[in-house]
Assembly symmetry: C2
Homo-oligomer: 363 residues x 2
Amino acid sequence: MHARPYNFYAGPAVLPQEVLEQAQSEMNNYGATGLSLMEISHRSPIYDAIHNETQLLFKELLQLPDEYHVLFLPGGASLQFSMIPMNFLTPGKVANYILSGLWAEKAIEEACKVGDVYVSFSGKANNFTKMPSLQDIQVHTQMDAYLHITSNETVNGTQLHHFPVIQDVPLIADMSSDILSRPFDISKFAVIYAGAQKNLGPAGVTIVILREEALPQHTTSLPAMLDYRTYIKHNSLYNTPPVYPIYMVNLVLKWIKHSGGLNIMEKRNEEKARLIYDAIDQSGGFYKGLAHPASRSLMNITFKIWNDELEKRFIQEASTQQLVGLEGHRSVGHIRASVYNALPYKACQALAEFMKEFQKRYS
Amino acid sequence: MHARPYNFYAGPAVLPQEVLEQAQSEMNNYGATGLSLMEISHRSPIYDAIHNETQLLFKELLQLPDEYHVLFLPGGASLQFSMIPMNFLTPGKVANYILSGLWAEKAIEEACKVGDVYVSFSGKANNFTKMPSLQDIQVHTQMDAYLHITSNETVNGTQLHHFPVIQDVPLIADMSSDILSRPFDISKFAVIYAGAQKNLGPAGVTIVILREEALPQHTTSLPAMLDYRTYIKHNSLYNTPPVYPIYMVNLVLKWIKHSGGLNIMEKRNEEKARLIYDAIDQSGGFYKGLAHPASRSLMNITFKIWNDELEKRFIQEASTQQLVGLEGHRSVGHIRASVYNALPYKACQALAEFMKEFQKRYS
């Protein structure tokens, strides 16, 4: 029995073991200061170095052009659902949303409180099992304030495998659950944002990567903490940032870099996901994937077993075999295996083997 | 030479050594799960126990009546500066602010973006060296949406030593820098709030303690993440809360409880502050306190030396003697010793001795 369980939680989620070991070793003595990093001023050179290095690591891993800012915000993606329309939805324009799943739905709900919104694609009739194809993603150049997409739907287990090229309308993406899991062309986007607690670190910080020139002028002042310009102007140090979560993100980004970067992450994620999707597809219907095959996520693999009782037994037996966090989201139920960057290949092997063994016993 | 420096940072600030040691010991294996707490779902029973226990500890330490909710929010006090008027400043009413220092000023600036505001007391002409007396604090019952005070001004080094009893107008306090440093009667307040990074834990979570019935009805929907009712309804689990900062707050609250509670904290804080104020007052004018004696803070002790060069030398020499974080806030300059709950008595002894020794050499 291995001491460290295989962690399939959807978020907060698995972190690289090396990162946790480093955090533990320097918890009470950061950089020979004799202090914990949690006790050190955010205006000190010690913290400043972490803050700036974290931004540089994002720039390097995502190959960000100079005009993009890397910002650290509070409140998770849920606060971004409000900040995006507050900052980008100007009077006379309409915000264009792709309704791809539960998270897109929440984003839309908040945007509707701020201004006019329309939904140019909805996967609701298909129970959010399908992402839009590229042809499904359309904009109205004169009308749209922006187009909002969700690159990966954590709850539904679907992922956009290609991003559209949109002319003259800012493209904005919630990438909370697949940021840094694969390379992509950032220049297609005006803004991407992500809560840290899936692929980046612990809960408590949200990354916003933003092209400043895409920000429209406002005639009234937004609250300081809800205005992206505040974070740009003060380099995300207008007030005390969430120092420790940012430090953990720093360590995770270094781990990604030392692992070989985003191409390697993508390759590993494809291999890991294939193990589990193969176990589903080769089960003769014992396991059924919830997502349409073309929309399957490499991060969150959702599936079911024909019998509710068996599903409960599956999750329960898996946990006794050190495979934890396999419950589906409470709004969908069934089974979900989240297999983010930090989850090792052998965890997916163990799950695939367990699936086969379980099927043998119960079919 | 002691390995752990004496930490006078204003925030993020010193944490109890026992708390850091416990956090370190369970960093990679929380509660025999084999996982770090940072990797565990916020919907799991493991996290739930921490979340609920932290609320109970606040209720116990502050002797909260049942009608108060303990909420965990993102964004620091700075986001509260906007959320307070968004939630409490209804049309036709005016918000009443006590302008006691830099932090009150920022709160007012944000409230002005939301609605009508008036300042019923200003310490600006006195350079914010004085807190209002109880007679200075007045409300207009029919007009005021609420009265906002700042219990301790971190930058200026002043503190309100008595709280007013206000009838029929909700009293709201920013207690970021002195929460849990002394007992007080919570029933005077509709809301108190505090960023964690001074007396409660690391940066990344804000505590809001709120009497629900004080919340006015709204005709339009606030953004979910900016509406206190969201946090009440979902027990601060509407979205992923900052799990690790909340866990650290939990450990700090247990440390306060095991140390003897708020009466003991107050006694210790008085003794600690006295050491340094005595060193100032007995210096024959070599050191000068910035705050009016009646308004002196027990948390942030601000003072100056007649000569700028000597001040720089003081801070520099102190740091070589393991007394760190003594720079005044960039807007005020001079010297500031922050002596929060977790700072040990011997740290203040060491600083007082250093002050006397420094004076001997340079006067």
